[in-house]
Symmetry: C2
Subunit: 195 residues, 2 copies
Amino acid sequence: MARTGRRPGESGSREAILDAARTAFGERGFNDASVRDIAGRAGVDAALVHHFYGTKEQLFAAAMRLPVDLAVAIPALLEGGVGGLGERVVGFFLAAFEAGGEQNTLLALLRSAASHERSATMVREFVTKAVLGPVAASLDRPDPELRASLVGSQLIGLAMMRYVVKVEPLASADPRTVVAAVAPTIQRYLTGDLG
Amino acid sequence: MARTGRRPGESGSREAILDAARTAFGERGFNDASVRDIAGRAGVDAALVHHFYGTKEQLFAAAMRLPVDLAVAIPALLEGGVGGLGERVVGFFLAAFEAGGEQNTLLALLRSAASHERSATMVREFVTKAVLGPVAASLDRPDPELRASLVGSQLIGLAMMRYVVKVEPLASADPRTVVAAVAPTIQRYLTGDLG
């Protein structure tokens, strides 16, 4: 490792950063783990972490091998405007879980979140800060944090029922059926009148 | 105990039944545990279990010391008719979790469900079979099971975010704010067009 004076190759540094990130996120959660700390654990400079992986959100996605590129996904969710936003969010969410079948790391992370409080905190902080927060904040509606947490409550409940505890008929329903049923909920939480 | 030939008093039998029920539900889940099995474990007749506690749903509620009398609650949810049903369901759900503060057994059960898959199955089976199923079935709309599982997905996600992982501002929001925000979702899942 770099700390002992031997300089690893680029792929060695990349792997060391991902290992350090998994450890740090697992121990401290998404919010409290810092890029500086992760760099220190990996024996590299924080600038190199940013150079290889971008933001902390992107580093988390890489470390957890999420089948999602947030730098592409979030602008894509928003660029169609407010109409159909609920549909795009639910469709994106289902696709992220359903890509790659049982090998999907997001699915593994969710299963682990169902039984380990620390994993649950990590997933929740990541989903809220990295995905729902930016989407809600960009909409210029009152109470963006409340909106983001309402969206999170529906999506996390949906994922638990469909993928973890597998309640029928939700578990086996066609993704289009699920999107049609749940999209108006997400649309209203993001853009509608909350009462 | 009755099995050894000594006849316990009524309160001894009642406690033995509740103990046996907690063990049986914990081991086999809500659906697979039977009143006959619970009676056998408690050394009493199944008829006595029904005499003391009513249905399996009511026995579960008693064993888990749920702050809810289902025989009263479900008809009360339905008797106001379809209008305002979403509001009554969400209000009932929040009240059941918030009565009694940290001593609330429903809250304890939910926390345990977040970390133990067996508890999660038990809670989910109970909520779906004993509460949401009867409500959805009574409405005479297409796809009652899908409706019940969609309602379950929103309510379980809400309970996780508000009471277990405590995401703000949802965790501290006034119950009226939460009811106003979530009731239209539940109303649409129960009675609306699912697309």
